[in-house]
C-alpha cells in the first residue's frame, strides 16, 4: 500500500476498534435491562409464560391467549400471596417475581402447594384477618399458605383502588412477613430449652397459686386461675404462666439460644422472602425473662417461623428449611430440584419427644382441646398474645398424628381474641383438612 492508503487505512482501522470497544462495553459489559425507562423491562408481558403448578400438577397460574394477547389466569385467589401476580401495570410479586427469569423462558414452576387444601383453608379463614400455614413437618414442604385478607390477582384492574385503600392491607403477606408476639405459643420452646438444660424434667411437680412475683412484679395466670399441684407437662397443657415465667427466669439468656436454634429472630430463606421477627435483648430482669417465657415482651415471631419451629418439635428436633418450590423444569434449561434440607438441630430428640407429650396433653385436656381430631391423636398449643391496641392475637400451633406427624400447622388470627376458643378449633379444622388432603391425594405426603 502507498503511504496515502496506509495512513487512511490506519485511521479507519483505529476508528473501527474505537467503535468495537464502545460496542463491547454497551452490548456485552453494561446491563441496562432494569432501567425504568427501558421498555424491555416489561417485555415479558408480551410472551407466553411458564405455568406455576401445585404438587399434583394442577395449574395455579397459567397463561392463556385472549384476542392475541397473553393473559395470566390464577386458579385460587387466596394463593395470591404465594404465586404473586404478574401484571402489566402493577408489576410482579411472589413466585412470579422470584422465578421470573425461568417463567419468562417457558419453564414451569412446580410448587409444594396442595390446591384442594388451600381452598379449604381459604373457606376456613373467610372473613378473618391473619395467616395459616400447613407444612409437612418431616420435609419442610409448605402444603398451604394463606394470608388473609388477600387480593384476587385476576381482578387487579377492577379492584386495585379498593385494595390499596383497604385498612387491613391485603397486599401484606402476614404468613411470611407478619410479626406478632407469640403469647403462650412460645411455651413448647421454653419447655424444650428448660428440659435440654436440665432445669426441669417432665414429671417435676410445681405448686401454682395463680400468680408469681419476679423481681418485685407479679405475673399471673389467665384470669389468675391457680392450678395447684401440677407437673411440667401439665403446666404446658394448661398454659401455666406461673411455671413458665419461673422456667424462663431460670434459663435467662440461654433461652435465647434455643429460640434462635428454632429459627426465631432470623429471616428464614424462603422464595417469597420472610421477616426476621425479633428476639429480646440478652439483658433482662427476672421479670423480663418471665414475660418472654410467656411470649410477651419484645419477642416477635412470624407464622412461617412458628410453623417451621413446631415442625421441629414434631419430627424429633430437626429444623427443616421451609420450601415452596420443588422443581423448575421445561424449556431448554436443566431442571432444578429442591430436596428437603435440615436447617439446624433445633432441640435434642428426647426433648422434642417430651414436649410433644405435653402438647398432646394440651389437646386432650388442656387449653388446646378445641383442636382435638376424631380418631387421631393430635398435638398442639394455643397462644393468646396481649396487644397494646384492641383484642389479643390468637395463635395455634400443632401437628398430627402426634406420633407419626404428617402435618404441622401454624395459625394466627390478628386480634382474634381468646385462642382456645378461636384459633384452636380453627387449627383443628386445618389439621383435619390437611390430613384428608394427604390421604385423598392418593399418596402419602412423605418423602
Amino acid at each position: 500500500m502507498s503511504s496515502t492508503s496506509r495512513k487512511s487505512f490506519t485511521a479507519i482501522l483505529s476508528g473501527f476498534f474505537l467503535i468495537l470497544a464502545g460496542l463491547i462495553y454497551w452490548q456485552v459489559i453494561a446491563d441496562l435491562s432494569d432501567h425504568p425507562l427501558n421498555p424491555r423491562r416489561y417485555d415479558v408481558f408480551r410472551q407466553p409464560r411458564g405455568a406455576i403448578l401445585d404438587r399434583w400438577g394442577t395449574p395455579l397460574a397459567c397463561t392463556v391467549r385472549q384476542n392475541g394477547d397473553y393473559v395470566r389466569v390464577y386458579a385460587c385467589p387466596s394463593l395470591s400471596h404465594v404465586t404473586g401476580y404478574f401484571h402489566q401495570r402493577y408489576g410482579m410479586t411472589g413466585l412470579e417475581r422470584t422465578y421470573n427469569s425461568s417463567l419468562a423462558q417457558g419453564q414451569e414452576v412446580h410448587t409444594t402447594i396442595d390446591l384442594a387444601l388451600q381452598q379449604k383453608l381459604e373457606a376456613l379463614m373467610e372473613g378473618r384477618v391473619g395467616a395459616a400455614i400447613a407444612m409437612n413437618p418431616k420435609t419442610g414442604e409448605v402444603l398451604a399458605l394463606l394470608s388473609s385478607p388477600y387480593v384476587d390477582p385476576n381482578k387487579l384492574d377492577e379492584f386495585w383502588s379498593d385494595y390499596a385503600a383497604d385498612p387491613r392491607s391485603p397486599f401484606v403477606n402476614r404468613a411470611t412477613r407478619g410479626q406478632y408476639p407469640p403469647g403462650s405459643a412460645v411455651k413448647p420452646f421454653v419447655l424444650a430449652a428448660a428440659l435440654a438444660d436440665r432445669i426441669t424434667f417432665s414429671e417435676e411437680r410445681w405448686q401454682d397459686s395463680g400468680r408469681v412475683v419476679l423481681s418485685g412484679r407479679t405475673i399471673s395466670n389467665f384470669q389468675s386461675q391457680g392450678w395447684g399441684s401440677l407437673t411440667s407437662l401439665e403446666a404446658l397443657a394448661n398454659s401455666s404462666n406461673v411455671v413458665f415465667a419461673q422456667l424462663a427466669a431460670k434459663l435467662g439468656p440461654r433461652l435465647l439460644d434455643t429460640l434462635r436454634q428454632c429459627g426465631l429472630g432470623e429471616a428464614l430463606p424462603f422464595p417469597l422472602g420472610s421477616a426476621a421477627g425479633k428476639l429480646p435483648p440478652a439483658e433482662q430482669s427476672a421479670y423480663g425473662w418471665g414475660q418472654i417465657g410467656i411470649g410477651q415482651g419484645s419477642l416477635l415471631v412470624t407464622p412461617l417461623q412458628m410453623a417451621a419451629a413446631v415442625s421441629a418439635i414434631a419430627n424429633g428436633g430437626q429444623l427443616m428449611r421451609p420450601y415452596l418450590v420443588e422443581e423448575v423444569r421445561g424449556g431448554w434449561r436443566l431442571p432444578r430440584l429442591q430436596r428437603p434440607v435440615v436447617y439446624s438441630q433445633a432441640v435434642p430428640q428426647w426433648t422434642a419427644a417430651a414436649v410433644r407429650e405435653g402438647m398432646v396433653l394440651a389437646v386432650q385436656q388442656g387449653t388446646a382441646k378445641g383442636a382435638a381430631l376424631p380418631g387421631v391423636i393430635a398435638a398442639g398449643k394455643t397462644g393468646t398474645a396481649e396487644t397494646l391496641t384492641g383484642d389479643d392475637h390468637a395463635w395455634f400451633i400443632g401437628f398430627a398424628p402426634a406420633h407419626d406427624p404428617r402435618i404441622a400447622v401454624a395459625v394466627v388470627l390478628a386480634h382474634g381474641g381468646l385462642a382456645s376458643e378461636t384459633a384452636a378449633p380453627l387449627g383443628g379444622l386445618v389439621m383435619q383438612a390437611a390430613l384428608e388432603a394427604c390421604t385423598q391425594g392418593g399418596m402419602q405426603i412423605e418423602r
Binding site: 500500500m1 496515502t4 495512513k7 485511521a11 479507519i12 467503535i19 464502545g22 454497551w26 452490548q27
Partner: protein, 400 residues
C-alpha cells in the same frame, strides 16, 4: 473467475436463507425484491467485469443492501418497497458512476459549481421536512440534494487540490494563501449553506473528509492546526447560534439526567443495543421499533439488538472490507485525481459510519445521518450506488 461465481452463488444462498427465514409465519409479499437485489448486483458485477472495472466491491455492498432491505421489511413493508425503488434507480446511478470519466480534464470545476447550485437550489426551492430544509421536489418525486452534492464536492476538491498541489505546497505567506483562499472561501460558503438548512451532519462529515483529504494531498502541520482551530471556532459559533445544537450536546453528554427529554432517543438506542448482548434476540424479536427514526438514523441500534454484537461486528467488518478494497484500488491507479477520488469516497463512507455508529454509542454527538447502503432513504442509496460506480471505474482503462 470460478471463485467469483462461487461468491455470488454463496451470496444467493444467504439471501435464500434470509427469504426462508422471513417467510416463517408471515406472507412474503415482496420476496422477489430481495432476489432482485441479488440479481441486480450480479448483473452489475458482470457489467463491471466486462468494462474492466473493479467488481470486488459489489459483494459486500450487496450484503449491506440486502441486510438493510431485510430490516426495513421487518419494520414496515412500505419502507422495504420504497428502498427497493431507490435501489432500482441506484442501478442506473452505478452505471453512470462506472461509465463516466470523473477525472477527465475537461470537467474542470464544473462539479463544484453543480454542488453549489444544488445546495442553493435547495435553499430557494426546498421543502421543509422534519426540521430541516433538505429536500427538493421534482414533480411527484422528492430527493435530498445534499447526498449528491457531497459526492460532487469531493470530486471538485480532489481536482482542485491535485491540480494546484505544487502551488498549495508553497510555504506560508501570500503565495500559498492565493491558492488556499478561494478553496477555503468556497468550502466555507458550502458549509454555511448546509448550516442554514440545519443539515449539520453532512456539514460536519464534509468538513472532516475535506480536512483529511487536503492533509493527504498537501501534507503540512500548519494546515492541521488551522483546521483544528476552524473546527473549534465553528462548533463554538454553532453552539451560540443554534439552540438545537445545544440540545444535542446535552443529549450526548448527559443523557441519563435528561432521560425523558433530550436524552430519550439515545438511551432507547443504548437499551436496544444492550439487550442484543453477544448473539442478539433474533430478527423481529427486538423492541427497537420503539426508537424514533429507527429506520434511518437508528437502524444500527436495531441490528445490534436483533443480531447482537456478532451481527454488528460483521456489519462493520463489511465496511472495513470495502474501505480496504477501495484503498487498494486507489493504489492501483496512476492518475492522482482518480486515486484521491477513490480515497475520498472511502473516507466519506468510513467517516459517515463512524459518525453514525459513534453517535449511537455516545462516542460522538448524534448527527442524524444514514448508515451507507443500509438505512432507509432512496436519495442516500442512489448516491451511495453512484459512489460505488465511481470507485469501480477507478483504474478502468479508457480512451482519453
Amino acid at each position: 473467475m470460478r471463485s467469483l461465481a462461487l461468491s455470488w452463488l454463496e451470496l444467493a444462498g444467504w439471501f435464500g436463507l434470509a427469504l426462508v427465514w422471513l417467510s416463517q409465519g408471515r406472507s412474503l409479499v415482496l420476496w422477489w425484491q430481495l432476489a432482485a437485489i441479488w440479481a441486480g448486483f450480479a448483473v452489475l458485477g458482470l457489467l463491471t467485469r466486462h468494462l474492466g472495472g473493479a467488481h470486488s466491491l459489489l459483494l459486500p455492498a450487496a450484503l449491506l443492501v440486502g441486510l438493510g432491505w431485510i430490516f426495513l421489511y421487518r419494520l414496515r413493508l412500505e419502507w422495504a418497497a420504497h428502498q427497493f425503488s431507490g435501489f432500482v434507480v441506484g442501478l442506473a446511478a452505478y452505471c453512470v458512476g462506472l461509465m463516466g470519466n470523473w477525472a477527465a480534464s475537461r470537467t474542470k470545476y464544473v462539479f463544484g459549481v453543480l454542488a453549489a447550485a444544488l445546495l442553493i437550489g435547495t435553499l430557494l426551492f426546498g421543502v421543509w421536512v422534519g426540521g430541516a430544509k433538505a429536500w427538493l421536489a421534482l414533480g411527484p418525486y422528492r430527493f435530498q440534494p445534499v447526498e449528491f452534492a457531497r459526492v460532487l464536492l469531493i470530486l471538485f476538491v480532489v481536482r482542485y487540490l491535485v491540480e494546484n498541489k505544487p502551488l498549495l505546497r508553497l510555504g506560508g505567506g501570500w503565495a500559498a494563501a492565493k491558492y488556499w483562499g478561494p478553496l477555503a472561501l468556497f468550502m466555507g460558503c458550502i458549509l454555511l449553506l448546509l448550516a442554514v438548512q440545519r443539515d449539520l451532519g453532512p456539514a460536519l462529515l464534509l468538513f472532516t473528509v475535506y480536512c483529511i483529504l487536503s492533509g493527504l494531498v498537501v501534507p503540512a502541520r500548519k494546515l492541521l492546526a488551522a483546521y483544528s482551530g476552524l473546527a473549534f471556532a465553528g462548533i463554538g459559533v454553532g453552539l451560540l447560534l443554534f439552540p438545537h445544537l445545544r440540545i444535542r450536546m446535552t443529549a450526548w453528554l448527559h443523557p441519563w439526567e435528561h432521560a425523558e427529554g433530550a436524552g430519550y432517543q439515545i438511551l432507547q438506542g443504548l437499551f436496544a443495543l444492550n439487550s442484543g448482548k453477544v448473539l442478539g434476540r433474533g430478527i423481529g424479536a427486538g423492541m427497537g421499533e420503539l426508537i424514533s427514526e429507527v429506520h434511518t438514523d437508528f437502524l444500527f441500534a436495531l441490528v445490534g439488538e436483533e443480531l447482537g454484537f456478532a451481527g454488528v461486528l460483521s456489519l462493520l467488518s463489511l465496511y472495513l472490507i470495502m474501505a480496504f478494497i477501495g484503498l487498494r484500488l486507489a493504489d492501483h491507479t496512476s492518475d492522482p485525481i482518480e486515486k484521491y477520488t477513490a480515497v475520498g469516497i472511502v473516507l466519506l463512507w468510513s467517516v459517515q459510519v463512524f459518525m453514525v455508529v459513534g453517535g449511537i454509542i455516545r462516542l460522538v454527538p448524534l448527527t442524524g445521518m444514514t448508515l451507507p447502503f443500509v438505512s432507509y432513504g432512496s436519495s442516500s442509496l442512489v448516491a451511495q450506488m453512484w459512489m460505488l460506480g465511481i470507485l469501480a471505474s477507478v483504474g478502468r482503462v479508457r480512451a482519453r
